[in-house]
Every structure is written in C-alpha cells, then in structure tokens.
C-alpha cells in the first residue's frame, strides 16, 4: 500500500449528494478524498427537484403535484416531521443549489432555478414533471408549454422508449397545437440508436447541419422543436443554440429513460472538474473502514483497484445512497442494514411492512422512508441515540424520513443536506 492520503474530509459516495459535497468542501478549502461507483449519477434524469409532489397522508386521497415548492415545505413538514428538510433553512436550499449551479455553469452545463415556482416540463411518457431547477436546454420547452406555443416533438428512428406521438397525445390537453415528426439520424448506420451516441455525434457541426436539414421540412409551422435529450454531451447550450439557428426556431430537450444524456453529462462534468479542485476522486472504487473510537480519526481504505490507498480523514461524509447506490442492504429475513459502518437504520418492523400492496399507492412505500436518523448537524445517530462519531456526517437519500421518489425531492435532499453537513464541519467558511 502506498503512503496514506491525509485529508480533512472523506466522502463516501459519488451520487449527486457526494458530488455536491465535494464541490462545497473544496470551495471551503477542505482537502477531500472521495470514492464511489459513479454509475448512479448517470441514471439520474438531470432535472433537479426540490419538492415536486406531496404524497397522500390517508388512504383514498391522491398525491398532489406541487406548484410552489418553498411554500409547500411547511405542508410537507406538517405531515412528515422526520423529513431531512426539517433540519434545513429553506434559504439554505437555494444557496446550496446556486453554488452547485455555479459549478455546473463553469463545467458548461448551465441550469436555471425557478424562483418561487416549479417549472413544468414534459416527460418521455407525455406526463408533466414539476421541477424547480432544470438544464437550460429544457427551458424553451417549459416556456412554450406555459404559453401554449405551437411546438413539434421529434422522435429519432430506432431510439427505444421515446415516442413523439406518445408525448403529443398525452400533453394535448395541456398543450394545444403540438405536432410530431420522426427523423432518421443522418450519418447513423441504422438499427438501434442510443441517446448517448446521438449526443456525441451532434458535437460535430456537420452532424448538426445534416440533422437540421432533415428536420426542416418536417417541423412545419412550429415555433419550437422538442427532441429527446441528445443535444451534445459537453456544451449542450452551444449545440442547442446552433440547432436553433439552423432551424430558425428554439429547440429544447425532453429527458429520456435512464441512462440518459443529462445524467451522463453530470457525471462527466463532476469527474472532469473535481480533480482540478484538489479532490482525490476514486471512480468505481469503494472507501471502507471501521468506525474509529471517539476522538480518533478515520482510517479508511480505497478498495477495488490493484493499488489500494489508505485514507486518513478527520471527518467522513456518508453519501452512499440507498439500495441502488449500495448504502443500504436488504436481505431476506434480516433488518435493513447500513453497509459501510453498520449504523442503526430506522425501518419498518419486518419485510411485510416494506411495501404496500398497491405499487402506485399515492402514499408511497415505507421502505423508502427507512434510513439513517441524524442530529441537527447531520451526524447519524448510533445505537444509543447519540451521534455515532463526532466526525461522521451523512447526506442524501440514505437519510430517513424522506421518500425522494414520491416527493420528487431527491436533488433537493442530496444538495441541501450535503451543503449543511459541509458547513457544519467547516464553520465560517
């Protein structure tokens, strides 16, 4: 093993919470080591929700979409007092988002936040998503939808799971005058077409010209053109602007099924910029080690590659996610476990209480509210109810009391709790 890597903060996890934490910590002068499987972030939609829906409280009630997320926080916390948002000042949520947005703008991925209101944007199923912060490449769609401006939704031949007709038929009641078109991607050999392939092709100006030429006769009088999210990988704003110039009308992106391009862009942006800010980032690796005695630093190992590193850290931020991210484990006949330090997990009594009978039950499923309980500084509680270690913090979806899938609060919880945890460990910075 090589010389130990000493740092102020070890971040376990490379999802949105972990990546945002690395941005906050490096900006505040903390030295950071970070490891995780970087697949998860490319499975995100790329759209950042603060609060998009309030689940039903009682059986028979519907879940309700949220138009004004910050106003709705009070209502959420009345019904869900254990939600991590209860630990946050709403202003901190905005500050945290703006800091991440500044970072992403620097990385070539400009985002726009919605002020008091959520944006309404179309999903690939033709449903509507209420989201507070969206990539700028989706904005013309949100605006055209709000105005009811005539738009044409375009599908790409061979791209599965994205039907322009589906989007248009289902949005028709909200968006009159939607038309559709279908285009073969010029220069693609045919057969199945993946969004990532198209996005990389459209980095090249000639490919954009060819696509615009193919599209021009199809889009009719539409004032805006909506495409699946394929407008370039690295500078989507430039690609979108060029397409708009070539077509003589605004273009926008609709998120696609995972793994989608906006998620891959985020992954590449974080992985590209964080090392330059001094973050020792170990992709597709794990950070593991025991919980040290009180007052002692963490001795962790980066595992999964031939040369293992030892990391000595004063503090650890656990952003290891849920079952998909690997932060929580759920085996038959056993309680749900926290996989790195074996911390206590708040959870239903047994497996029969994990899920309700009806998949789409508007109240959501209890298993998603399971997770770590934390103190006001976001330190997970140990078996005795006191913080498990004074230098151990947790952020993101591993926290108990939130159901990010149903409340559409995943990015908000990830970014804002990471922000609060980093500030708690670097006061005054």
């Amino acid at each position: 093993m090589s010389t130990p890597l000493r740092c102020d903060l070890a971040i376990i996890g490379t999802g949105l919470a972990g990546m945002a934490a690395a941005v906050f910590a490096s900006s505040r002068g903390l030295s950071v080591a970070q490891a995780g499987s970087t697949g998860a972030i490319s499975y995100t939609s790329g759209v950042f929700d603060v609060l998009g829906a309030l689940p039903a409280v009682a059986q028979g009630q519907p879940a309700r979409p949220v138009e004004r997320p910050f106003e709705a926080l009070a209502e959420l916390l009345r019904d869900e007092p254990g939600h991590p948002y209860a630990l946050l000042d709403p202003e901190d949520i905005r500050l945290a988002f703006h800091e991440v947005m500044d970072f992403l703008r620097e990385a070539g991925l400009p985002y726009r936040a919605g002020g008091e209101k959520n944006f309404l944007l179309p999903t690939p199923a033709g449903t509507l998503k209420h989201s507070w912060c969206v990539p700028e490449t989706t904005l013309p769609g949100c605006e055209a939808l709000a105005e009811g401006a005539p738009a044409c939704i375009v599908a790409i031949e061979g791209m599965k799971g994205f039907s322009a007709r589906q989007v248009a038929v289902n949005l028709a009641p909200y968006w009159p005058g939607l038309t559709t078109a279908r285009v073969a991607m010029p220069g693609h050999p045919g057969g199945e077409v993946y969004p990532e392939q198209v996005a990389r092709m459209l980095e090249v100006p000639a490919a954009r010209r060819a696509l615009a030429e193919a599209l021009a006769p199809l889009v009719g009088p539409a004032r805006v053109v909506g495409l699946p999210a394929v407008l370039g990988m690295h500078r989507p704003g430039d690609v979108a602007a060029d397409m708009a110039r070539l077509l003589g009308r605004a273009v926008f992106e609709i998120p696609t099924m995972p793994p989608g391009v906006p998620g891959i862009r985020l992954k590449e942006a974080f992985e590209g910029l964080l090392p330059g800010r001094g973050v020792a980032l170990f992709c597709q690796q794990k950070l593991v080690g025991p919980l040290p005695a009180p007052g002692a630093p963490f001795r962790l190992r980066v595992t999964g590659q031939p040369v293992e590193h030892e990391v000595l850290a004063d503090r650890v931020l656990l952003c290891s996610g849920r079952f998909l991210g690997g932060g929580l484990g759920g085996l038959r006949g056993r309680p749900i476990t926290e996989t790195v330090f074996g911390l206590p997990v708040a959870q239903p009594e047994d497996r029969s209480g994990w899920y309700r009978q009806d998949y789409l039950d508007p109240r959501g499923h209890e298993v998603h509210r399971a997770g770590l309980r934390v103190d006001a500084a976001l330190r997970p509680l140990g078996p005795g109810g006191a913080p498990a270690h004074e230098g151990l913090f947790a952020a993101g979806s591993i926290l108990a009391g939130q159901d990010w899938i149903r409340m559409k609060c995943g990015a908000g919880v990830a970014i804002a709790t990471a922000f609060k945890a980093v500030r708690a460990m670097a006061p005054g910075r």
């Binding site: 499975y43 939609s45 998009g52 829906a53 519907p62 879940a63 979409p65 138009e67 309404l120 999903t123 690939p124 199923a125 033709g126 449903t127 509507l128 998503k129 939808l145 709000a146 009811g148 599908a155 061979g158 599965k160 799971g161 994205f162 039907s163 007709r165 589906q166 038929v169 289902n170 009641p173 909200y174 279908r182 050999p189 045919g190 057969g191 199945e192 998120p255 099924m257 995972p258 849920r322 079952f323 998909l324 759920g330 085996l331 038959r332 006949g333 497996r351 029969s352 899920y355 009978q357 009806d358 998949y359 789409l360 508007p362 499923h365 298993v367 998603h368 899938i405 149903r406 559409k408």
Partner: protein
C-alpha cells in the same frame, strides 16, 4: 349474440373444451373476465405430472395424470419440455414413505427408476448432500399459456370460435329449466351485452360456485391459494419433487430459462383477492432449503399465485381434498342446458374437456366422437412467443438491426409485438400491455417489465395502437400487476431492481400522480395556473 355453446372461462379447460367441440363441428363463444389463463391455469407450476406426486394418496388421480401426460407429450409436443423428474428424500424424511414409494407407483402404472443418492446428485448438482433416496419418473413441463392460446387458435381455425376477453358474466335468465340468456358486461368499457346459447358451460375453476349460483345451482367450492416463486435462472434440468406427502415448497420445476418453486396451500374466501404474500414466499423457501440449499442465496424475480378449485365434500383442508375433477350437469337444480366442470389439474385438462364435451354434445344431439385423444394440436405461429428462449434463438439467427429489442431481458423484438398485434389484434382492440405479456415473454425477465413496459408502450403509441391517455393507464395497469408478484420477493438484487423501477415510473414519469384517463379535466387547472 347467439351461439351453439357458450363457454365461460378461458383457462386450459375452457379453451380445451372449445377445441374439442370445434373438432366435433360445434361452434362456440368463449367469454373470460380477464384474459386467457387468468385463474389457476396461469398460476401453476407448469408441471405435466407423471402422476408420481399423487401415488401416495390418490391412485386414481395418479393414473389419470399418467395417461393424460403421455397423450399431451405426443399430441402437443411444442408445448412440452420432456425433461423428466426426480423424487428425492433428505435425511430426516420419513423412510417408510420412501420404502413404499416404488410400490405405489407400480400400482398406478407409473414407470419409476430407483437411483443412488450420488447418481441423483450427479444428475442435479444443486441437490443437497443430505439426499438419502431418489427415484426418476417421467415428469415433464408444459407451457400453459401456449397450450391455451393454441387451443383457442385451433378452435378459431376450425369453426370461427371466438374469445371475448374482459367480459364478465353478471347474470343468467332461467326459464322452464333452461338458461335462455346470459348477461355480460365489458370490464373495460362497462358496456352490457347478452348472449343466447343452446348450451352454457362454466369452466371457471375457483369461480365455478359463483357462476353456478347465477343459474340457481350449487357447487360446494373450497378455494386454496398456492403461491410459487420464480428464480432468475434455471436451477435444474429436471422437475425435482420432495419425496414426502404433498406439502409446502416441495417442488422445483424448470420453466424454460427459469425455475419455479412452490407451492403453499392457504384457504381463501374470495379468489378475486388472492395474491402472493411475504409469509408464503418465506415458507416456500424454508421448506425447500433442506432439498436445495443454494435456494438460500438464489435470486428470485417474481412470485405469483393461483387458486386451486377444490370440491369440498365435507370439510378437510386444501391438501386433503382430491385433485380429481367434477362435472356437474345441474339436473338436480332442474337445469337442462347448463353444466359446470371444475376441480382437476392442468395435466388432466383434456380429459375434463372431453367428458364435458360428451355431455354437451349429448344434450345438443351431436354424435361426433371426441378427437382430442388422437388429433395433434397444431402449432400456431402467433403463440410461439410464449416459449422461453424462442426469441433469443430467433434473434441470434436473424440479428436484424432494424428490429429493436423492446424487452432486453427476454430479447423480445418489436417485430414480435407487431406480429402478436396482427394475429391477435381482433381479440384486443384496446391492447393492454398485459395482453402482450400473456402472449410473449415481455415483463418476465429480471426487470419484470420496468423498462420494456415503457418501451413497448412507446412502440404502441408509435404504431398507432395507442392514441389517447388510455395508453398511460395501460402502463399503470401493467406495472401494478407486475408489482403484485414482486412484492413478496423484494430482497437483495430484486429490491435494487424495484427501487430503480419506481424511480423511473414514479420519480421521473410521475405515473402515480392521478389517473391519466382523467387528464383532460386536470388540463384546465394547469392552464389556469400557468
């Protein structure tokens, strides 16, 4: 609507009866509340019994299985995998039962071969080292969906016999000892209808008591729910049965690319409310582990249940009741053109259909003999997509780049969806993803429809089969139905899969937010707000 014979229920027996009657030149209409095999015919092991399972307690049922199993192997080979079966005992099992077993088989005429434990373990390496006895029997597996679909397809080809899906029988008008009119309702549109038939047959399995009551007749039913678990990969070449009196979790049956473990026996009041539970999933596993220890860390992708239609002749629990079938002519209720067939097993469906058709034909004055005992079941091209492994083989042969795989787990291409829509489209003008799932392997793989449900829906919109928000409702229905079977087995990798699925369906698409069929009304609100 008028027809010679109205058959209620499109399970193995109802569709088998339609074919039997068609072979005798009698035309009929089949009505079904759900879709083909919605009841026990779609909720079983897919085990074509040699009869070995029943030799210890029901020699007659065992003998019937032996004869019918052999017939089906010969006449419908496309639906059968003749994989063979083992009965194995492990340390602690009743040795007297083991000693008696070959004699019981001989009494029922079942070919049985005694194996050394080591031999059995060499044949099926997942068997426990604690195996103390093993016998080989001619068990096989059968694809019940292909069987029912091909029965219907053949009946349709012979006499134009049609299937009305999503059609529930709500009442019967009885006059002078005859059912003169059957009332129906379309469960999707709510549209009411009537059917007049010379003869009416109920082949409704666990629902037989309820349907008979509509005509004032009585059948003493006992509904016994059995839950089965589907593994991610096939674990054995052969059917493996525990060598002991029938109990929970003691059969593991290969189903093409997977294995199916079951089953439980829980008495339920209402077959409509049957669904597999966490407790049953755990019980199946607990019971099976001594026979196949590696099940403890095997990935399961799904659970499902069926309701055995048992005839309760004076109490007893579900295990004790005979697996024989019953044909009620309902003359005791003063009826002359209505009969019910229920009980029995998948393996004996043909015999049940034959006996029922004999009664119906006698009542109609038709003298043509039964031909299902000799006439092979033709293989219908539209029905081949239910076969596990068929789509991947075809894909490997053709590898048509312009034919995208909509279901990546089971490798079902867009062309399969198109051909099912072409061949069966008249049966479902309002195509549910469910209906496509029944006729193919869509939704059966490790993602359990999470991804292919979205892709197939997009394809159906693109090809003009979905033209309204109803397509979203069909997606909700499909995911809800797949989840029913997921819920009891969500641990380990399948729990991770479920989290990803819900993140897609609810997190991104918001399918849980209200009923998409109510979209136009909601649209006004959205407009007012923006």
């Amino acid at each position: 609507m008028r027809t010679d014979v109205l058959i209620i229920g499109a399970g193995a027996t109802g569709t088998g009866l339609a074919r039997d009657l068609a072979l005798r030149g009698v035309s009929c209409v089949v009505v079904e509340t759900g879709d083909v095999n919605s009841g026990a015919s779609g909720g079983n092991h897919g085990l074509l019994h040699s009869g070995g399972r029943y030799v210890s307690n029901d020699t007659e049922a065992a003998r019937e299985c032996r004869e019918e199993g052999a017939l089906i192997k010969r006449l419908a080979p496309q639906c059968v995998e003749d994989c063979g079966g083992l009965f194995v005992a492990v340390a602690g099992d009743d040795e007297r039962f083991v000693a008696d077993y070959p004699g019981w088989c001989a009494a029922a005429g079942i070919e049985v071969c005694c194996l050394e434990p080591a031999e059995a373990r060499a044949m099926e390496p997942v068997l426990s080292p604690k195996v103390i006895a093993a016998f080989a029997v001619p068990d096989a597996t059968i694809d019940p969906f292909r069987l029912a679909l091909e029965n219907m397809a053949h009946a349709h080809a012979l006499t134009g016999c049609t299937l009305l899906r999503r059609t529930r029988v709500t009442g019967m008008d009885v006059d002078a000892g005859r059912v003169v009119r059957v009332h129906t309702v379309n469960t999707v549109s709510g549209e009411a209808g009537t059917i007049e038939a010379a003869q009416v047959v109920s082949a409704t399995g666990a629902w037989a008591g309820r349907v008979a009551a509509l005509a004032g007749a009585h059948i003493p039913m006992l509904c016994s729910q059995g839950t089965l678990l589907v593994t991610h990969e096939r674990m054995t070449r052969r059917v493996v049965n525990r060598l002991r009196p029938p109990g929970n979790g003691d059969i593991l049956v290969p189903g093409g690319t997977v294995s199916i473990l079951g089953t439980t026996s829980v008495t339920v009041d209402d077959p409509d409310r049957a669904r597999p539970t966490v407790a049953e999933a755990d019980e199946n596993l607990r019971q099976a582990l001594p026979m196949i220890p590696s099940l403890a860390y095997t990935r399961f992708v799904r659970a499902y249940c069926g309701v055995r239609p048992l005839i309760s002749a004076g109490g007893g629990d579900g295990r004790a009741v005979s697996r024989g079938f019953m044909l009620y002519d309902h003359t005791d209720a003063g009826l002359s053109n209505f009969c019910s067939v229920t009980g029995g097993k998948l393996t004996t469906f043909r015999l049940m259909a034959e006996k029922t058709a004999d009664l119906v034909c006698a009542r109609l004055g038709v003298t043509a003999p039964c031909r299902t005992r000799t006439e092979p079941l033709p293989a219908a091209p539209a029905c081949r997509w239910t076969e596990p492994g068929f789509a991947p083989r075809l894909w490997a042969q053709r590898h048509d780049a312009d034919d995208p795989l909509l279901c990546e787990c089971e490798m079902v291409p867009a062309s399969a969806v198109d051909s099912i829509m072409n061949d069966c489209g008249q049966q479902f003008p309002d195509p549910g993803l469910q209906a496509l799932g029944k006729r193919s392997r869509i939704g059966k793989g490790s993602c359990q429809g999470a991804f292919c449900g979205v892709r197939v829906a997009a394809h159906l919109y693109d090809t003009g089969h979905y033209t309204s928000p109803r397509g979203l409702a069909r997606m909700r229905e499909f995911f809800t139905e797949r989840f029913k079977g997921q819920r009891p087995i969500l641990w380990g990798p399948q729990l991770i899969q479920a989290e990803l699925a819900e993140a897609l369906h609810c997190g991104l698409l918001g399918l849980e937010l209200g009923d998409p069929e109510a979209a136009p009304a909601a649209g006004k609100d959205e407009e007012a707000r923006s």
